[in-house]
Symmetry: C2
Subunit: 701 residues, 2 copies
């Protein structure tokens, strides 16, 4: 694939098919851009109606071009694309970029047209970017290819950029230029009929000109491949993504079903979490993070020092940093001693360090040098609000002088200096990112910290438990034979037990006396449930009775329930299930749902309100490593409940960790289920009292 993409991005000979001389036309602008960027190769305009375009000889068809051609940029009307692509094939072109729109993005007719084009591409062993794309850019001075119809030829830089939306591509390139951010390669991949974002990602992995990868994504073609590639790349080159389509317009009802809890976006977040990909919410944040990554090391930790000549911005920065999970330790005594030598005694010598008004270039330099020596900090943020009396460029120069040799992360803020003053320009030219507002720095550091944590995390292993797959197969086969929608009750419990997941068994009773006898044998207290498949939400119906302590209580409860059911379902046969009651434990929920893109997601949460109202749950894409199962449990806000809240004994987390991994294995082994709810799985301090009490496996239709 590298060879094929090299033919596209490092082409020495390009044909622009559909080039015109008409001002404002996409064909003209694309040819124009290639010429303006001083492409280091040969360009051949192709247009049956023109002799010369932009002073360059034009050819009727690509077959008339006398030289060989690596790359064809195609901008002809959609109906002509197939024919033109076939000519490219005959000519021996290796790569094509189809800018023309009107393919699968427009409905069935377009889809058909796209398939025809793809067939020809494959027939001639070519590779294609697009259709319906914005073009490609390679800023390498050896190449200088700007085959887009946009207005912006980006600065050279070390960022590779993949965009699924042409409009966003143009918007991002334009804004990047205003912010002074450069790109190595830009690929607008359009409908991804042939070459996908995964292919380009893989290309960036080994591209010596690309250190950082930015992506604008709307959906995933092959998330499994993305996971594998992105995970590998993230260890070497950071990936930052804006993925749109975050919210679902419909409100979700309160429910503990794993399926209803998984929002549209849970899979995407899980995917990014598991691959080290930094997800940002907005294009603004994309730039903020990219500026930091392109110019500074990823901070080694969360400890930040702010040095400022103005109190207000220092306080705003502190607010934002703390809110975004940073720490701001105070200075070491020796730092304070150094600072006191040149900073007025009126200052407070705390972090944020407000050097008080009047501090200028010299104070910035000396203060930064002092705090850089203080081992407590990973990141230093100089904040400058230019007073009229102080030369801004001098301050910028002195900031640079102070920090130029450090390995710590430096992110500067020039507030109220305009969007591009001479001080800001100076720092940017010297690889110090400058932000207009301190809040952007705080958000950036939060994103980088998440990445850094991912980098440091152990990779984890997949466990493989000895389980009884035959038993589960038998239960599933029986349920399918009976055309059941779901496996519930003791069958469900037996599936769990076959996978070594502890569960409280059921016994059934169809008379009050039988219920009492069974209860006595199990030992009090017991739980009684109506054994009627129609009533899935047992709690809401009042159909679960807990903590029954005596035989007479059991009998009375049996009769009460029977009468209640008789009223609502007069034709229903009545029986109950009796189960030992696990006391003193905490209810958790373990579940699985199928994401249409990512496949099975495993869920964990604390039971009842934590799941249903607080939505305090975690999801991961199956299968889970032993590190991931631990993380799922420990990342919950309600996690402290499990570790000994208010003097309670901590629950047996080892058993819980293992249970999640066993569920993960079950999900991996059996593709028969579309949803699993183990609810509740009770956890307790003693291993013996960690047990599933109810479970439900919804079968694939």
């Amino acid at each position: 694939m590298k060879k094929e993409l090299d033919a596209i991005f490092k082409s020495r000979s390009v044909a622009v098919i559909g080039a015109t001389g008409r001002k404002g036309s996409i064909g003209r602008e694309t040819l124009h851009n290639i010429l303006l960027a001083e492409f280091n190769g040969k360009v051949f305009p192709v247009n049956p109606k023109a002799q010369v375009i932009h002073s360059i000889k034009a050819y009727s068809t690509i077959l008339d071009v006398p030289d060989s051609v690596d790359l064809a940029i195609i901008i002809v009307p959609k109906e002509h694309v197939v024919g033109v692509v076939r000519q490219c094939g005959e000519k021996g072109v290796k790569g094509i970029v189809v800018i023309t729109a009107g393919f699968s993005e427009t409905g069935k007719e377009g889809e058909k047209r796209e398939k025809e084009v793809l067939k020809v591409v494959q027939e001639y062993d070519m590779r294609m970017i697009g259709p319906n794309c914005f073009g490609i850019v390679n800023t390498d001075p050896k190449v200088n290819l700007n085959a887009t119809f946009g207005k912006t030829y980006p600065k050279q830089g070390r960022i590779g950029f993949i965009t699924q939306s042409g409009a966003m591509g143009e918007a991002i390139m334009n804004t990047a230029k205003e912010l002074g951010i450069g790109f190595s390669v830009v690929a607008s991949i359009g409908n991804k009929a042939d070459i996908s974002s995964n292919d380009i990602l893989e290309y960036f992995k080994d591209d010596p000109n690309t250190d950082i990868i930015l992506m604008y994504l709307e959906n995933f073609g092959n998330p499994k491949k993305f996971t594998q590639i992105a995970r590998e790349i993230s260890y070497k080159k950071p990936i930052v993504v804006v993925k749109s389509g975050r919210t679902s317009l419909g409100a979700k009802a309160a429910s503990s079903h794993t399926g209803a809890l998984a929002g549209l976006d849970v899979g995407v977040d899980a995917l990014f979490d598991q691959t080290g990909v930094m997800r940002v919410d907005t294009v603004e944040e994309l730039f903020d993070v990219a500026s930091a990554l392109a110019n500074q090391p990823v901070p080694k930790g969360n400890k930040v020092c702010v040095v400022t000549n103005a109190g207000g911005p220092g306080i705003l920065a502190t607010d934002a940093l703390i809110n975004n999970g940073m720490e701001m330790p105070s200075f070491s005594p020796s730092t304070v001693k150094t600072l006191k030598k040149f900073i007025s005694a009126e200052a407070s010598f705390s972090n944020p360090m407000d050097m008080v008004a009047g501090a200028g270039a010299k104070e910035f330099k000396l203060t930064l040098e002092a705090v850089l020596k203080d081992k407590r900090y990973d990141t230093i943020i100089p904040i400058f609000v230019p007073p009229v009396t102080i030369n801004q460029l001098e301050v910028a120069k002195n900031i640079y002088e102070a920090v130029k040799d450090t390995k710590k992360t430096i992110l500067a803020c020039f507030m109220g200096a305009g969007f591009s003053s001479e001080g800001i320009s100076y720092l940017k030219e010297h690889n110090i990112p400058v932000y207009i507002f301190p809040e952007a720095i705080a958000k950036t550091l939060e994103t980088l910290a998440k990445y850094n944590n991912w980098l440091k995390k152990p990779k984890g292993k997949f466990r493989n438990f000895k389980v009884d797959t035959a038993k589960v197969s038998a239960i599933v086969a029986k349920a399918k034979a009976e055309k059941l929608d779901a496996i519930i009750g003791d069958d469900a419990i037996e599936i769990l037990q076959a996978y070594g997941i502890q569960a409280a068994g059921y016994q059934y009773a169809s008379s009050a006396n039988e219920a009492a006898t069974i209860s006595s044998q199990l030992g009090f207290p017991v739980v009684m449930k109506i054994n009627t498949p129609q009533i899935l939400h047992k709690t809401e119906f009042g159909a679960v009775k807990v903590d029954l302590r005596t035989e007479s209580e059991v009998k009375k409860t049996y009769n009460d329930l029977k009468n209640k059911i008789a009223k609502h379902y007069p034709n229903e046969e009545f029986s109950v299930s009796i189960q030992e009651m696990i006391t003193g434990g905490i209810e958790t929920v373990i579940g699985m749902t199928i994401d249409p893109t990512f496949g099975p997601l495993v869920m964990f949460g604390l039971g009842g309100i934590y799941v249903e109202i607080m939505k305090d749950v975690s999801f991961k894409i199956n299968p889970l490593t032993d590190v991931q199962s631990k993380e799922m449990i420990r990342s919950l806000k309600s996690y402290p409940l499990l570790t000994g809240f208010r003097g309670a004994d901590p629950v047996d987390l080892k058993t819980l960790d293992e249970t999640l991994l066993r569920v993960s294995q079950l999900v991996k082994d059996f593709e028969d289920f579309v949803e699993i709810d183990i609810n509740p799985f009770i956890v307790s301090p003693s291993k013996d009292n960690c047990k599933a009490v109810d479970a439900r496996f919804i079968l694939k239709k």
Copy 2:
């Protein structure tokens, strides 16, 4: 006060005391700015060492100025300020602005100096802004006063701006100018020794040039007065505030004490909530909101329509809008019919309306006209990503043509068009705010929606219950006489009962038999607690035993507790309290803590983990109206637990609402407490089972 502030802001005769000709000096720049802005009055430089400054005759002292002087701007060294101020008094000056720093912001010496200055100001019946401020601005063409030393003379506009930080003032004015936002009056209030932000707020209330008020605040001088003024103004003129100092650096331990739960900033948020003041987190958001308010009506509701020529930004906008609480209803059938007349059938005719590539000025105009007629929307957001083939200015003109007569809110987004293209400039000149990123619009709409909700909210009434204050006074007096730190146990319960708050009474037992007898009388089940003041966190010690169902259980529990205590506190006398057990209810916590700035805050939350780990609590500044008490309860994330979660009966909310108001009255009547915790207050479906079970009143030292 209006007259005095008019003398300052609408002065006809200004002396600049400390003006110099030295480039870069604050004195020179201030004089220079007054001249540059073409001040509509007389200016007199005062400097003992110069004859002429900037071609204007200078005077040795203000007493030498031949004309009368309304306003003196003082920039002399800090040691000379008192003397100069006295001369101003003798001259008959009405207002002074002291720019000089080195007063209370720098420590004790400076504080003394500030007091001396203030004394002179008051002696001569003058009013003073500052010291340590950035100066003042009035852009009214009849005045044109720019008495600051900054580099920016703001555009004329209808925004009044109060800033407590000079550096932030300069930064904000500078950025505002770049964004094309204008101000009516800017007041940098510095140390607020005399004139406060409240005074300026009040001035803006009746200032015909000011429609919107922006503030940058670091702290509150007189929050009670702020509450009263801000509440009144908010109904007429929106107030938007950046208040810094949001976070406390120290992490807060998990605890249910109201005091520990109230962060540094809970009072500020409560204050803003209660006064309709819009709080924004960042200076960026301040501008975003200000642009909308200055040019567009506040949206009547949350329903938004997005019209775009590019899919990607449309999706990003939708994500952000939904996340910020907006709704995006689909089009009415008649709107779809209209749209189909001129938009390609390939479009999807849903909200966001992606007109697909190629849509230009005409399509924007027709689509906007169509959706403006659709009654479903309160706000319309046109998003334009400029393709090379489309004239951006034409699009801007057509957007304006379509929306110029609407009463709906229009906020536009031009993405990737640069920070100030001709299209953006055109729209801004025609009062349509333009944002670079759609997320900023979403955040702005969220802030405006909160304001609109406040405007629509009923004002509420204070209730006055008949209570037994004498009884509470007696209990407090007794506790004080005994030098107790806190009132707990049955004394605390009696305070509640005196205020008509239902509570479960205590009885004490100092033997197992006595405990059993009392329990029998109360009726089972009962709760037993160790009656030992030292063990405040009873649950953690395991010193509360609930659900005791028989006499023998009571006796055994008594003896177990006694043995446990004997081990840890061998010299402690042992007794227990016995209390009826309220079953089937939900634990809540009602509390009070004193905010150093805002006085008593009332707190409400659900008990246990909801309060301690989920931090799901609400605070309001006391006293509460009947609307506010309701809001406190209903704003909790865990509120659905009270309204019948999973088929349970809803609790008696009326009693809970009333209980909060009774607590509010108690807090208002007695200033003896620094903290109150009613924990738990159990709520149940039946009024009789809504009862406080434990309470603690910590006494002021």
